[in-house]
Symmetry: C4
Subunit: 387 residues, 4 copies
């Protein structure tokens, strides 16, 4: 889907420095003072680690604060591993926190509200430990806190968002595989932790330790881990619901990240994580019913695979008319389209959409894309920007 063939020539491991630092995640003031640049220059990432990192598709220099880089512990084996895998570790733990809170909120609301059992009556107020809105809170703040955790990798936390940043924002395509793997594993492991935490409650809800069922079974608990569509939806509507939510997600994220947009970028302060809380909360409150607003391969497929491994059976794939592929594919389509909308109508900076034929020319003439990329690097080098 995202074969980086067109860019491989210029982005191979041998010239790992050949891309800008991920400074789209820095605040404008930081850019202005250029302190990130200084950090990069001050770094002492060894040749050895640089080689490994380039081979993994990462920038040859790990994003690490200068004063930490000078610490004497760089010769320790584990510290070198951390350095080599810095961004993947950040993405892993970002998605890990995201899914812990997200799946945890579904688990608590679903499992504590079973009518006719003793779980509900123990709640203060007698109506369970949370309602649907708790789930909006859980996913919203999970994304917010995940972004705080994964600050050093760009905090994409979603393969479709990584994909759109490669497509529209010059993130090198060779980053994609490692980021993708880390994000998927974060969701996979977090689902296992949620299962371990709620296993007693799942047993009580299903009716016994041996029972594990998938919606629309009456006591199904598989919905704790991944999304299942409402029964009244056609296949087209399943796809459209995920598609439109992903489109909104990417459109608003690009607006929040757009330095030339007065709405979000001016006035200082790191409002992005809080903005994402509101965005994800809103998607849950306004587009979360029909298909559960997966909008994220890592958040849906990772836990789905874990639930399969935990014994929920083949129905995790076949439920909803083999719905499982929709939250794998639709987020990529939706984020691509959301980026197209934003770049096509609002964004004025460097984007394939702001090239001839709205960027479609590159599709039939990939050599032009390569040429534009080389051109761009030369311009940045001439300006003294580290590339």
């Amino acid at each position: 889907m995202e074969a980086p063939s067109a860019t491989k020539e210029t982005n191979g491991p041998t010239n790992g420095q050949a891309h800008p630092p991920p400074d789209m995640y820095l605040q404008p003031t930081q850019r202005a003072t250029g302190n990130f640049t200084e950090e990069l220059e001050g770094q002492k990432t060894s040749e050895n680690i640089s080689g490994i990192r380039s081979a993994l598709g990462l920038h040859s220099n790990a994003p690490i604060a200068e004063e930490h880089d000078l610490a004497e512990h760089q010769d320790l084996m584990w510290s070198r591993v951390k350095l080599a895998l810095r961004e993947p570790l950040a993405e892993f733990f970002g998605v890990f926190i995201l899914v812990l809170f997200g799946d945890g909120s579904v688990a608590q609301v679903l499992l504590s509200n079973k009518a006719g059992t003793s779980t509900q009556t123990t709640a203060p107020g007698g109506s369970g430990f949370g309602a649907y809105q708790s789930i909006s809170w859980g996913w919203g703040l999970g994304v917010m806190l995940g972004i705080y955790v994964a600050g050093d990798s760009g905090a994409y936390l979603n393969p479709a968002i990584t994909f759109a940043n490669c497509y529209y924002r010059q993130l090198p395509w060779r980053r994609f595989p490692m980021y993708f793997l880390a994000q998927f594993l974060g969701g996979f492991v977090a689902a296992g932790v949620i299962y371990a935490n709620y296993v007693n409650a799942i047993n009580a809800y299903e009716g016994g330790p041996g029972l594990r069922t998938v919606p629309p079974a009456p006591n199904a608990t598989a919905g704790v881990f991944c999304t299942y569509p409402q029964p009244f939806l056609t296949k087209t509507s399943q796809f459209f619901s995920e598609f439109i939510a992903s489109t909104i997600l990417m459109f608003v994220i690009f607006a929040l990240k757009d330095e030339s947009n007065n709405g979000a970028s001016k006035g200082g302060g790191n409002w992005f994580p809080l903005g994402l809380f509101f965005l994800i909360f809103g998607l849950g409150a306004c587009f979360g019913w029909e298909t559960g607003y997966a909008i994220n391969f890592a958040r849906d497929f990772g836990p789905r695979l874990m639930s399969f491994a935990l014994g929920y059976g083949h129905e995790v794939w076949s439920a909803g008319g083999y719905y499982f592929w929709i939250p794998m594919v639709a987020p990529f389509c939706g984020c691509w389209f959301g980026g197209l909308l934003y770049d096509g109508f609002i964004y004025t900076g460097e984007s394939p959409v702001n090239t001839p034929w709205l960027g479609l020319k590159y599709l039939i003439r990939p050599d032009l894309a390569v040429k534009a990329r080389i051109e761009r690097r030369r311009r940045l080098e001439a300006q003294g920007t580290p590339v």
Copy 2:
């Protein structure tokens, strides 16, 4: 309704530069450093685009960051269209996002809570996918995210607010038509997207694909798109409810935008979007029951027209005793009155209220208003402020 005849002489297309940049949307620190001014001077908006923009009632220079303006893509056709329609596009997408979240939240809460159907029982907790409070969240964060998206146009997102800014804050009246059109279209299109997303659920709720009914019909779904009043309201109360909500809206927005008010403007940070979240949330929680707090021509009439186009029938106009005109007119009256209250009792800066007879003199002597405007431009030019 707001014929700009009195100001046309001085604001015709021929002197498009004759107004200040919309710097009331910048933070104080930005004004101080004057970086917006530099951006404007650095711009290379071609003569051709300037002419089109002036003809549309926009400032002759598009608000665009300097480094983006230097990009080589300005010679592309689509990039020129984007530049010519920059503010209308921003307003369109701002209202688009606003109505997507707002109408989406109503759709989800209303359609997922039908007693006696299968939609409700699938909810974690068994009581639908959201309650009334979700709707407060939806509209509140819709406005917040819409403001982030529409930062480059001023993010009015509401014709009545544009109107009040023309009346009280020297926004040129000739801006109004294009902003109005863009805002209306944003609401219109967003309602169509919501319909496409929830069409299966609407069918299930109404009882079939051919049924589309308007409150107070028992299975009515027209309330997803636009507002309908409670049955116990008199016509006066319908108007008053919209009027008082719009008054509060404008009063608080002017307070939040008032640079000389220590409450909001001091201490740095772009708190305006978050403040609007709380304001809209509060209007929904405190004044949202009786008439649904439309307080916005674009948010109500746009989706109402779309629902008419989608087959909800003549009742979208006749319901509530031909209530439909109230959310068209009352917001203008309310925002005008809210501005009058704020300028009349709190605001100390330049405002028609701070002129002889509380500004009423201008109503009978429009030549004085024109003279004051010319005077003002001269003073700003003498200070070196770009006008």
Copy 3:
């Protein structure tokens, strides 16, 4: 209760300048740069207005931004009235907004939830237009937005908080009467607006236009305007509940305003209004049940008097065993005690508690308090701080 006799000699109208600007409401950075001082010096408040303001107990110079003060409209009658009454107008509208949202939220939740009537069934979800939590939102964001509106007066919005600032933070006692009057009127008028907005719904809830009843009557609507205690409370518990909530209110506000407390004051940004949202929300969610967390003379007595004027009868005073005086008195006691706790255990700056005998010496030797005040003014003058 707060007779300013001890301080009158030094604070009479003749030396109106003899107190510092209310810069405890400025951010630290503003103090450092002293821009508020410059504003004051640049002001051209006429002798005439200064005299009126001093006679009203206000600072002789109105808090107004310099560039506004230079505007030519200072010779207009109404502009001079606004200038003379600047802080009272700010407090009036601050409490007005506060009570509009607060009472509005109670009205909407209470009146839209009557079982067995048609009002409830029209709600999306079928359970009324809001639940108890909406009321926490309403009061919390009402305070937040009221603070934004009333930034130029200090935004006390509560006579007990004004009182504690006079007692502990050197706000001149002669400010108290005008602030008190403005705050009371704000609550009084806002309650009338809420009544006008919800009169149809009140009629429907009570059972007819002529019926106006007070809790514990079954269809009582008086609770929309002011607080009534739960029936199981003793008089002592009524008092204690208001007392402890007011204590927490003042304790946390003093912490949030304490420049020497790293918790709130460092790191920049105007977090105070948002902090107050959470504080008031929390008081509603944690201490709001028993007596309705009035914690504010203006918020409770103002609307109570309005409801009496609107025909709710003598029961507005006699309900709950003549409970009405408790939200008048307890907030003053609680805020006094909260200030004592904060200054006695945390605050290290200038406070009567940080004087001999924890400040109690001043109670028996008021001449010492006067002497300390004179001493303080001299010290500030020597430092060049405007007093």
Copy 4:
């Protein structure tokens, strides 16, 4: 558990200055300008107070703003007591506020929702004064406001977090006992205030003034004060639930405090308290059902002891299979593990994990830890950093 033997030699009272100021709680900009350092140098804490403070395990210089330190009241007895106990007082009141809001929210939701009594029917909307989500709000904003109050002590508010900061972040171990005592007392006293406030409601709920019962008794009110586990949990699950919640707590706090993590530290503004609101809210919404997310010795044991003193009987200890020790022990284990995860995979600064054998070498060679600590102090002194 946290015997500070290994470090005592270098951290005895005689060299109280031998540790850095708690500047991990300052914003990056403050560090850069070094204004905290200047404050310390400007301090005039008397020799006498310094000695007492060192004996208590505190830094010899109290954290106090310079201009306050110059005030003439330092010779007052009570002011000296405040100075000597500055951090413990801050921690006491921080936990006090935290537990007031937290326990208060549980009390209001639990006690106002008893089916079949008159308490519920008085609620606007008829369903009690709050639902489970109110409790998430209560604890979340309690922590947030507690952090604002306790800014001068570091605002740990939790012995397990103090412990992890000693272990991973070079907070001297001798701080632990006083902080621990203050935190415990804060929770203990706050529970008493909550009892005093809600004693009438507790009587009504239990059925009489003499009745005080513990879950799973049908009218139990002991859950107001401390946590009791769900009946379906095994002992292992009880422990795991507290463990995983504490792990997440520490992991995210370390991320939010990590200056080298772009996620939270860059862009300015004091976002930490708001971030903690979302974190605690999330733990309540996602991990709060099974064991009540105590995650804090002081929050659970303090109120538990108070409820025992108030007559809830031996069951406060024996309930849930002598569950009471789990919220005492699990938070320490969880916070230790959360810190290990963060430092082991993300953190690049100075930490025992970033030493040979992931820090485990220090366990068998404590002399190396001492040596490293001395080494570190020398390096800081050479750089001119006050230690």
